[in-house]
Symmetry: C2
Amino acid sequence: MIQAGYRGGTVIALCGGIGGAKLALGLARVVPAEKLTVIVNTGDDFRHFGLAVCPDIDTVVYTLAGRANPQTGWGRAGESWRFMEAVGELGGETWFALGDTDLATCAVRTARLADGARLTTVTADIARALGVGCAVLPASDDAVRTVVETADGDLAFQTYFVGCRCAPAIRGLRFDGAATARVSPEVAAAFAAPDLEAIVLCPSNPYLSIDPILAIPGLRALIAARRAPLVAVSPIVGGTALKGPLAKLMAELGLAVTPATVLAHYGDLVDVFVLDTADADQAGDAPRLRVAPSVMVTLDDRIALARSVLAFARGGRP
Amino acid sequence: MIQAGYRGGTVIALCGGIGGAKLALGLARVVPAEKLTVIVNTGDDFRHFGLAVCPDIDTVVYTLAGRANPQTGWGRAGESWRFMEAVGELGGETWFALGDTDLATCAVRTARLADGARLTTVTADIARALGVGCAVLPASDDAVRTVVETADGDLAFQTYFVGCRCAPAIRGLRFDGAATARVSPEVAAAFAAPDLEAIVLCPSNPYLSIDPILAIPGLRALIAARRAPLVAVSPIVGGTALKGPLAKLMAELGLAVTPATVLAHYGDLVDVFVLDTADADQAGDAPRLRVAPSVMVTLDDRIALARSVLAFARGGRP
C-alpha cells in the first residue's frame, strides 16, 4: 500500500468537483483512509426529474472509488446512455447528462432522503458501497444552492454551468440557504480530531466550489479555531484556470486572473499557498507562498502534489 | 390499414395493464385512432425513487405503440438494466424493476408534473412521442391510490403486487383519493361524443384495475348517462384468471371464481357480458351473455376479440 509507513495525523480536504477530486485522490493514496476526510461542495446540487443530483459529491466518490469516467472526469466509467436517449425521444430535457448508472446513485440518494436520512449518511453509504475508504462529507445536510447572478438574471448553478455553458456574464454569486445551513456532526468531528495535521483547500474554483462551503457560518468558525495549518493550492496556473469557468468568472468580476487574487480572496484563512512551478516567479519572498508542480495529469502527479501539500503543512519542503 | 372501411362510431375502452392492454391493442387495429379512447387505471401509480411511476398507463402506451416487451407484457422491448444493476450495487431497492428506457418515461412525466402539467397532458405527449394515435387518458388527473387491506396490514398496491408478489391474503380494497377525484375534461368529452358506439370494459381485474376507475364518482355518472352499450369481457376463463392475482383475490374475498361473480359485481353497468368459448355452457339463456374466444395469444386474437366486442355492441354477432 502506498500509505504504508504513514506517520502523520488526520487531514481534511475541502473541494468541489473534477479538479479538487484529483487532489483528493492523491491524498487518499498517501493518507490512510481512517485519517482522511473530504468535505465536498453542495452548492451545485439540484433536483432534476425529481431526483437529488449532487454533482460534486458524486464526482469525488467516483474518483476515490476508481470509478470515474477517465475521459470526462465526471460521471462513471463504462457508462451507458439508454435513459438519456429515451428521454430525448420523449422530448424531455437532455441538457444535463445523466448516465444509466450515474442515475442509480441519484435515485438511491433520493429515496433515502425521502425516507428521512441525512445527506451525510446517504453519501457515506454510497461511498462505502463503491469501495471508498475515507470519509466523504457533504459540506452540510442543509440545502445550499449556488445562484449565479448574470446579465440575463439569476440562474441556478447547473442552468448557468451546463445549460448555458457558462456563457452569461457573471455579476455576482450567492449561496441560497448557506446563512442558515448547519455544520453536520461529522464535519464538526473531523475538525475536532486531536491529531489534525492539515486542512487542504483543493485547487477547486474558489468562488463556485470552495466559497459555498466557507459560507456555512459554523464551518468558518471551525476553521478559524483550527489547530493545523491550512494549505490552499492555487487553481490559477500560468494566468488561467486549468478547467472550468474560473478565469472567465474572475475577469467578469473585474479581478486579475492571478494566484495572488485567489490568495487575497481566501485572506487570513490560508497559512500556506501553493503555486504551480509555472508561477514560481510570482512567489517572491512572501512567507506563505510555496511552489510545487500542481498540474495533475497522471495519478503520480496527484500523489506528488498530495505529498507536497502535506510536507508544506508540516513546515518542510516536498 | 386494418381500420379501412370502418363505419362505426367512437369507442371508449376502460382497462388496467397487461390483459386489458391486449384488447385495447385489438381495438386500436379495428377502430380509427380518432375514434378510440382508452381510459386507464391509475390506482397502481406510485412514487419510486421520487419518480412518478404509472405502470398501467405505460403498459397501455407501450403496447399501443408496439414498443412493449413481448416476453413480459410490461416494460419496453429491447430494454436494458444498467440502472437497476447499479441500484443493486448501492444497496438500493430493486424489488420494482425499472428498465433504463422505461425510467425515462417516468422521469419525463415527473418533470412535467412538477412543472404543473396535468397527467392527462403528459400522458398524451408521451403517447404521441412514441407514435400512439388514439387517446390514452388517465382515469383522473387527481391521485387515486389502491390500498390492499391484508392480514399483514394495509399495503400500497405495488408493495402488495410486486413487493409481496400478491402473497398476503386480501381482506378488502380501498382507493384512497377516489372519492374526491375529478373526471378530467378529456374523459368527460369522450363520453359526450355524439357518435359514441360502445363502452368496453377490457378483461382487466375488476377489483384492482376497473374498480379504481369506477370509484371516481363523476365517471360512474358519465357511464350511467351513457347512450351506447357497455360491453364487458370476462377476465375469468375456465374457472380461473389468465393472469395476475384475480382468482386468488376472489377466493380470499369469499367469492366464487366464475364469470357470473364478475357480472354480478359490475351489475347494471353491463349491457353485454362476453364469456370465453370455454365457458359457453355457462351462458344459458341470460339475455346479456355472449360468447367469443377471449384468450388473446396472438395479435389476430386481439383483433378478433375487438371485432366481436364491437359486433355485440351493435346488437349482432361477430
